[in-house]
């Protein structure tokens, strides 16, 4: 398991080490975030090689522009996830648009279909990230109730908490998850300069 609660100090030091051009830091960065980056990219693009490509791009971007990340703006993990997301969605839109152009189906309907797929992939990737980033007790409750099909009383017993607490966790976990739909400007191509 990755260390989820690493102190922001790690983020700050990592940024400084990358800025100095420390190759060993790049390796540590990869070891910490590669599975997050690859997993999100794969969720958006649904293709192993395309996800490899995004992984290369994300780490190259951070290595070439270490100052693009400002530790005061939030955790590095979040920043890396946002960058991955943006690059993956960009890639998806580009390949789908190219496929449309090739097949000569430039109709409004086809374009709408494309946007729908981009939005769908985007929401699915955000949802993955939310589940990973949510507090572990909420994730554990959802895991029991959804994947193991335990009812909330069994969930409470499994987790050693009250039934009230089990209900609260299930509801709160789903509330967090539902924010995956809250995309600021759906369909707008995210700019490279933004979070990066």
């Amino acid at each position: 398991m990755a260390k989820k609660d690493a102190p922001p100090r790690w983020d700050r030091k990592m940024q400084q080490r990358l800025a100095r051009g420390e190759a060993a830091a790049l390796g540590e960065l990869y070891d910490r975030f590669a599975s997050l980056v690859h997993g999100l990219a794969h969720r958006v693009l649904g293709d192993e090689r395309a996800a490899d490509g995004i992984t290369r791009e994300v780490f190259a971007h951070l290595w070439e522009h270490p100052d693009a990340y400002d530790p005061r703006q939030g955790p590095l993990r979040t920043w890396v996830a946002a960058l991955t997301h943006r690059l993956a969605v960009q890639r998806l839109r580009a390949t789908e648009t190219a496929a449309l152009a090739e097949s000569g189906r430039g109709s409004a309907e086809a374009t709408e279909e494309l946007e729908r797929r981009v939005r769908h992939a985007s929401v699915a990737a955000r949802a993955d990230y939310i589940v990973q980033a949510m507090p572990a007790p909420l994730r554990a409750a959802l895991e029991l109730a959804y994947f193991q099909r335990r009812d909330y009383r069994q969930t409470a017993a499994d987790l050693g908490v009250t039934e009230d607490e089990a209900r609260r966790r299930l509801r709160l976990g789903l509330q967090l998850l539902s924010t995956a739909h809250d995309v600021a400007a759906p369909g707008a191509p995210p700019g490279y300069g933004g979070a990066a």
Partner: protein, 500 residues
């Protein structure tokens, strides 16, 4: 920045707000009251379908009307209209996600529950994790309460977003490709010395293998195998014990570099009354400062066998080693001596040796938990074989002194240092392979094609298994030509390169 904003809110900050929002003062009392009336022990039907299908509660376009009715709910908080929850921005139908199927409607008497209790049940309801009575009560309520109906729909859509995490194993080669790509685009200010790169790569590979291990895997039995004198030997431990072993032995390199010694952290100096006397006496059997001694001492220092908690310190140590050698010297620094108890290796070889051991034990671990594990990248494999080939002459001489190898009766005089001597051609096939001329009669002699008396050919991975003590010299699949005694001596010497 706009695109990043939604991500920022996912790091759990919302929890406290929700807690305050969801549980205003006084609600607990109501809830407890309601709870009294919930029949215990009545779990929902063991229904494998999810809640509410497309026609389920809280769905449909008539919510506006429903919402009006909700304002009459007896437990509406505060006077006047309860705040309306805005409609979800996108419905699950739009997103094309599969919807859970509708639950079997159970037909018990609906419970009479208070609004706060019903609200608190919404998450469990959306997950089909309520009793049949509660499900019925919630669904009846959703017809009356617009706020709850909105939330119910939103939560049910969220259920559709739950997906098994994709546990795709990352291609281990990807790390090298990604890092190489980066370093080409921006050359490093502080590079990792070439001789430390195999250690960096192998520790990363092993760490990735450990990534998804649960307790069962961490405690899976592993047999460490090596070759001592004329025969194979072994020592039983667990996956966690193997990582502790790697941590303890790499402490030799850490010590040489002035880093923390894991044995100090483990408190081996006063490993008092621990009831692991067997380990302690084993430690006493090994010469101090050797890998075996350090390992036994480290294991003995803990009252309990190692657990998964050893992974963090081990990984921190590997990162510290790579980082330190990057800073302290670059390529020239690799000559610094590292003591292995009975002998010394230059730093660059010590790290190669650690990389080799890391791979060998990663294979032991992978085998114990039935995972596949590939050999190292060709250039790393080549460097490891080269190290073994370079260590062979000294090992041969030591075995000869110990009476374990044929005395050099062929040569009546010692070959003086730097002069060519009788040699064995070691031909290693495969992507990590190459050719080495091993001087047979003196570590100081130079291998010479003109004095070649024997020729041995092995596959690269097979040779490494031999040098790791995992294949016996008699059984190693080696093509042999020439002086039989020389061949036997070299194969046994290769096997005795292995140690705990």
């Amino acid at each position: 920045m706009s695109d990043a904003t939604p991500w920022l809110s996912y790091d759990g900050e919302g929890e406290e707000d929700e807690q305050r929002d969801g549980r205003p003062g006084g609600e607990d009392r109501d809830q407890a009251h309601g709870e009294d009336r919930v029949p215990t022990g009545m779990n929902g039907p063991d229904d494998t379908s999810g809640p509410g299908g497309t026609g389920g509660p809280g769905d449909g376009d008539d919510r506006g009307d429903d919402g009006g009715g909700g304002q009459e709910a007896p437990s509406s908080p505060g006077p006047g209209r309860p705040p309306r929850v805005p409609l979800p921005r996108a419905s699950v139908e739009d997103s094309g996600l599969p919807l859970p199927a509708a639950p079997e409607p159970a037909l018990p008497q609906p419970l009479r529950l208070e609004h706060p209790v019903l609200k608190s049940l919404l998450g469990a309801w959306a997950l089909a994790a309520c009793s049949a009575e509660e499900t019925a009560a919630v669904e009846e309520h959703l017809g009356d309460c617009g706020a709850c109906a909105d939330e119910a729909r939103r939560l049910r859509e969220a259920v559709g977003l739950l997906q098994r995490p994709e546990s795709l194993d990352l291609d281990p080669g990807l790390r090298t490709r990604v890092l190489d790509g980066c370093l080409t685009r921006r050359p490093p200010g502080i590079p990792v010395p070439r001789w430390a790169q195999s250690y960096d790569a192998e520790t990363a590979r092993l760490d990735a293998l450990l990534q998804d291990f649960g307790d069962a895997e961490w405690h899976a039995p592993v047999r460490l195998r090596w070759f001592r004198g004329q025969e194979a030997t072994s020592r039983r431990t667990t996956v966690a014990g193997v990582i502790a072993h790697l941590l303890a032995v790499a402490g030799l390199v850490a010590l040489a570099l002035g880093l923390d010694d894991p044995l100090d952290a483990a408190g081996t100096r006063d490993a008092g009354e621990a009831d692991r006397g067997a380990d302690r006496s084993r430690a006493a059997d090994c010469p101090p400062g050797t890998p075996a001694h350090r390992t036994e001492a480290f294991w003995a220092a803990s009252r309990f066998p190692p657990t998964r908690s050893v992974r963090g310190p081990w990984r921190d140590q590997t990162h510290a080693l790579v980082r330190t050698v990057s800073f302290t010297g670059g390529e020239g620094h690799g000559a610094m001596p590292v003591s292995y108890g009975g002998f010394e290796l230059p730093l660059r070889d010590a790290l190669l040796d650690r990389a080799f051991e890391c791979w060998v034990h990663a294979e032991d671990i992978a085998e114990a938990v039935d995972y596949p594990y590939a050999p190292p990248a060709p250039r790393h494999l080549h460097d490891m074989i080269d190290l073994a080939a370079r260590m062979l002459p000294k090992t041969l001489a030591a075995r000869r002194r110990a009476g374990l190898a044929t005395p050099s009766h062929h040569t009546r005089h010692l070959v003086s240092a730097g002069r060519p001597g009788r040699s064995l051609r070691l031909e290693i096939e495969g992507s990590g392979g190459g050719q080495w001329l091993i001087p047979l009669d003196s570590p100081g002699a130079v291998g010479s094609a003109d004095h070649e008396v024997a020729h041995v050919a092995l596959d690269d991975v097979e040779f490494c298994r031999l040098a790791a003590g995992h294949v016996s010299p008699e059984e190693a699949a080696a093509g042999q030509l020439g002086d039989r005694e020389a061949i036997r001596d070299v194969l046994f010497a290769a096997a005795s390169l292995s140690r705990m």
